[in-house]
Amino acid sequence: MFKTLVGGMLLTLLPLVAAADELDSGDTAWMLTSSALVLFMLLPGLSLFYGGLVRSKNALSVVMQCFAIGCVASVIWFVIGYSLAFSDGGSMNWFIGGTSKAFLSGVSFDSMSGTIPESVFIIFQMTFVMITPALFVGGFAERIRFSGMLLFSILWIFAVYLPLCHWVWGGGWLSDLGLMDFAGGTVVHISAGVTALVAALVVGSRKGFPRSPMPPHNLTITVAGAGMLWFGWFGFNAGSALVSDGSAGMTMLVTHLAAACGSLAWMTVEWIKHGKPSVLGIVTGMVAGLGTVTPASGFIGPIGGVALGVAGGVVCYFATQFIKRGLKLDDSLDVFPVHGVGGAMGTLLAAVFGAAALGGVGFDRSITGQLGVQAIGVLAAVGYTALVSYVIFKIVGAITPLRVDEEEEDQGLDIVCHDERGYNF
């Protein structure tokens, strides 16, 4: 039990203390694998998932955005990101880390982080900073200009991701407060989801929305991407244990159950409400289940996995309808209702299903006490992200136009921004 807590909640401390642990080759093997798995979630997983969902003329633009963001984020992580997230920030440590590890200085072949080499911890965490901004690409898809998008993403990583990551996992104030976020309900899913919503507001709807249908151009690659996401999410969540033991195993098990239950829940609601279940529905439910279970995944038992999956599938379905049909906000690929809502719900419910009585690992506080902490975490992540990403959009928009003009939108971003076309059959 204790090891689980180390693996999950207290992981935040590991890179900070001079690790006296011996290297464990099994833990290292699992973390090397997990790093590869999370990379795979983005490339090609998310790229295909998103790429298939847009219209043919914009397919490459979305894929390109995911790819470029991943590369830029990697370089930032190397230059200063890892340091700002995971090194000691001195008097500012409640907010952000320091610069002592800039350019990964001092990281050698022998540096350790818990039972694994520090290099492995660095690459594992690097995959998280790669995928998070790529998630919000779904919010402004099919109309954003590439250069503005790239500039926004760079600023966002500095101003939103790195602070949040430090708060929660790097020894900042939310970590001090005892927030339970195993693999990124606040840091990843809320931050990406909220940013996508802000993007939809600032950038505006796609031309023709909501009157004209904008059906996915290639659902077989979307489903392929969905399967890759499920596969990679095993590394995302079970890798967040940072060890290869029962805590990783249980995390994988509950993650899987949440994916399956989220899928079936969305499918069922759609079947009832619309009369037919769809493949886009079932894979969206899968993402909703996975996003919801993520923050709780290392703290709960199988029952919790099932409950969070069902909650994700059902609630995110209605959230999607509400945002898109109700509010008529063109968060194109529904990032907010799926990731934002799911991530927030899962962060809160970690305090419920994480309780020992419900098969979880347990925590010191009462359930309501912990729920309060979780609520603070959710509110902080939502509020901070909304505010800062709005400001960044305004700054970037003042420097360079954020969206293409009408005629370009008709022609499609692939030709307009990249001089290439997806298909020549």
Binding site: P213, H274, G281, T284, R325, D334
Partner: protein
């Protein structure tokens, strides 16, 4: 010479081609088109957004024939492609001024 153009249901193509062979037609050109008409389209659903697709997939068949063959060709197509359900399609006949076979330069009925 005339050009007979037929808009038919996709799965009837094989039958029509056979029927045309039987009346001696040895060449034709087909393309994929979408039709709009009395036949209802279908509903599609993407994450809760339902919308109606009015266009249904059809095959367009073009056959150039000599004037004397028009009737038998139209009849062959009609019989082979009729299912009696809405959306069976239409046959259009145009006048053809001139036909050339590129390979040989032949023109007129010889070029068919």
């Amino acid at each position: 010479m005339k050009l007979v153009t037929a808009i038919i249901k996709p799965f009837k193509l094989d039958d029509v081609r056979e029927a045309l062979s039987e009346v001696g037609v040895s060449g034709m050109t087909v393309s994929e088109v979408k039709g709009f008409g009395r036949q209802k389209g279908h509903t599609e659903l993407y994450r809760g957004a339902e919308y109606v697709v009015d266009f249904v997939p059809k095959i367009k068949l073009e056959v150039a024939v000599s004037d004397g063959d028009v009737e038998s060709v139209v009849e062959a197509i009609t019989n082979a492609s009729r299912s009696g359900k809405i959306g069976d399609g239409k046959i259009f006949v145009y006048n053809l001024q001139q036909v050339t076979r590129i390979r040989t330069g032949e023109t007129g009925d010889d070029a068919l």
